[in-house]
Structure formats: C-alpha cells, structure tokens
Assembly symmetry: C2
Homo-oligomer: 200 residues x 2
DNA sequence: CGCATACGGATAGTATAGCTATCCGATAGT
DNA sequence: ACTATCGGATAGCTATACTATCCGTATGCG
C-alpha cells in the first residue's frame, strides 16, 4: 500500500479512505498484515482521482460510475448513470413548465426523454437567467444548442472508435465527466481570444 | 427583511448570513429595529442565488464577482474575475508542459494569455485523460475547441448587444457563470439524442 | 398606558464532506 | 529477540454553508 501511495502520489490515509468507501477494491491479502496491489489498482486509483479532482465528482457519485464501469451495463445505461453523476438532482416539480417548453423549442427534432438531467438542468438555467433580468435571447441559446450537438457528435464518434465494450464504457464515463471540464476550459480560452479580437 | 424573505423564498437567517458575508448590502435603517429593503435588494438576492445554486459558486467567489459588478471595471477585467471565480486554481508548476503544448496546438491562431484559467484547466483535463489510459485523440479535442469558439462568439455577440456598460458587465458575469451550466445541460440532452439516433 | 409580538443584529451551533491522525495487534526483516 | 512497518479500525479535524437562539428595541393593538 505504501508503494501504491508513492507511485500514485495519494496519501496512504486517503487510499484507506477510498477502500472504506468501496471506490478501490482491496488488494489480495498475502499474509495477515500484507496486501498486494498491482497495476489495476493503480489504474483505478488514477481514475478515481481524475473523476474527483478534475471532474469534481463527489465520493458517492464516483462510486456509482465506478460500479457501472464494473458492471455489464449497456452504453445507454452507462450514459444515464454518468450523466446523473455529474448533474445535481432537480425536481421537475419546482421548475416552471414555461422554461421546459422553451428548452424543448431549442431541442426540436432531438430525441430526448422528458427526465433527461440535461433537459431539466437547462430549464433551470433558463429560469435563473430570467430571474436576474436577462432578456432570454433565443439566438444565444440556439447557438449553445448547436455547439452542444457538435460536442455530443464528437463524443459518440470517439466512443464508437473504441475497440470493445469495456473500452467504450470507460470512454463514456471519462468523456462525460471530464468533457464538461474540457469544454468549460476551452470556452474560457475562446472567450479571451474573441474578447481580445474585438477590443484591441 | 421578512418581506424580502417571503418574496424571494430565501430564509431570513440566510439573508442575514449574506449580509454578514457582504454579498447583500444592508437595507437603509429607518428606525433602530426596522430596515427598508427595496427591489434592488431583491434583484441582488436573486442574482446571488443564481450564482450559488445554479452556477455552483462558493460564497467567496460570489462575493468577488458581485464586487466587480459594483465596480467600474472594464469588460476584459470583468471577464478575468468571472472566469477566475468559476475555475479551480491551478498551479502551472504542477502541470506537464507537454500537456500545455498540446492545448496550445489546439488553440493556434487564438490570442490567449499563458495564465488564462481555461488554458490551464484544459491542460489538466488532458493530463487526466492520459492518466486514465485514454488515447488522446486530436480530432476529438479539436472539435471541442471548435464548439468552444462558437459559444464564445455567441457570448460576445450577446454582450455587445447590451445597451450600456452596467448591462454588459452583468451579462459577462451571468453569461460566464450560468453559461457553463447551460452548455453542460444541453450537452447531456444532445448526447441522449445522438445516442438514440445511433443505437435504435 | 401596557404588553405581546416582531424587528434587526450578534453569536453560537449544526450538518455534511473529505480527508487525516492515532491506535492496535500481527508480522517481517536483522 | 526486537524494532520497524504493515493493514485495518476508529476517532478527530477543517472548511463550508447555513440555521437557531438570544437580546435589546420598538411598534401596533386594546
């Protein structure tokens, strides 16, 4: 365990914590006070840190996506779990139906289930926009939807390019969780670029 | 204050907390135990809740963006504060320069300063991707960058359409903070759409 | 006038999350 | 034989975002 700690740069106490929380499977006990941790454990630990540190997942969310990776769930099932894990739960009841309608207008022609977490989250954002007195510019949001479609298409192309089911499932999870961080980051870089272009 | 609480649906104790934390300016005291809160206070309170609940900002981050809204900062300065507030601080020193190079390759032709929080965050995501054994597919990330540019252009168009500096500054902040939530939400909807298109 | 009620402000307490430090008995190396 | 280290269990810590209680003042109502 000490070796796992030094190679992964994660404190021993934290590794023990992840074991307790069932994020990391126990190493195989060799004697009563010695366990063996191999490269699968190291890989898993790196995945955990990526999900938590970079993706911002909670311990509980990380556990549920790791469980789905270990299971034999289908790709759509995996997507559902991954999406749920990165979204804050929203009660459809405390959402203005008008906001949902507006989102559905943006998504015409899209095949999206009514309780898709993204649909609900988008409606909540729209509601917040209106609440702070922003005019809700259809054109603005429509361009976001266009960009979202580009990204999702790129995601699915990438997933399909993976050789087997296990690799596909891991890409679904990693892509969903880290993709959010990536698009946010690139968006900030692009904002600075476009700003400097227009205010120079 | 009780009235402000009922119309905004924020508990009185929480309003007092925001006053203490200097997120909300005090109402003007009418007598020793009575203060007056008007619609500017209600607007501000709604903005605070949007930033915290929907945008996921911490109290400290919310305070710094509210301060910049109240100040007479320029648009680029406002952008910098808003971007900083939604990003986790990253030490450039614990980043692999190779990852930064790869990000810069994606951003050729863009005018982005070396310590743009988005640039650093993107490099960290790239590092995490490699760490979990994903092949870093240039095409995938390039399509993200393209989408990011679309979004940033839409953001700047929207900001320019605002009538005066105060409105522009508020749109910078609200757009930066809530825009992240919006693109994430729409991306999930788009993922379900594209998935169902391909697996039906 | 009297007094229960409500007010705003100050202070202390609470719940949760994510670690982190200490203790413990067993065992491995010298 | 003995000291250091191991893994496991348990308790403690820190930060964040509230939440509840207390308190002196003042207002409305009879």
């Amino acid at each position: 365990m000490a070796e796992l700690s030094t190679t992964s740069d994660v404190p021993v106490a934290t590794i023990k914590y992840y074991l307790r929380e069932k994020l990391l499977p126990a190493g195989e006990s060799e004697t009563a006070n010695q366990a063996r941790y191999g490269s699968p454990h190291l890989d898993r630990l790196r995945l955990i840190r990526a999900l938590i540190d970079v993706g911002g997942l909670s311990i509980a969310s990380a556990r549920s996506v790791l469980e789905v990776i270990d299971s034999d769930a289908s790709l759509p099932e995996t997507f559902a779990v991954a999406q749920h894990s990165v979204s804050v739960a929203i009660e459809p009841s405390d959402l203005d139906p008008a906001d949902l309608d507006r989102i559905d207008e943006l998504l015409v022609g899209w095949h999206v289930s009514p309780n898709n977490p993204g649909r609900l989250a988008s409606a909540r954002v729209l509601s917040a926009f209106r609440g702070v007195g922003q005019t809700d510019d259809r054109g603005w949001f429509a361009r976001y939807a266009e960009a979202a479609l580009l990204i999702a298409t790129a995601d699915l192309d990438e997933i399909e390019s993976r050789p087997d089911r296990a690799a596909k499932v891991e890409t679904v999870v990693v892509g969903t969780v880290l993709g959010d961080a990536l698009i946010s980051g690139l968006r900030r870089a692009a904002q600075e670029h476009v700003t400097s272009e227009r205010f120079s």
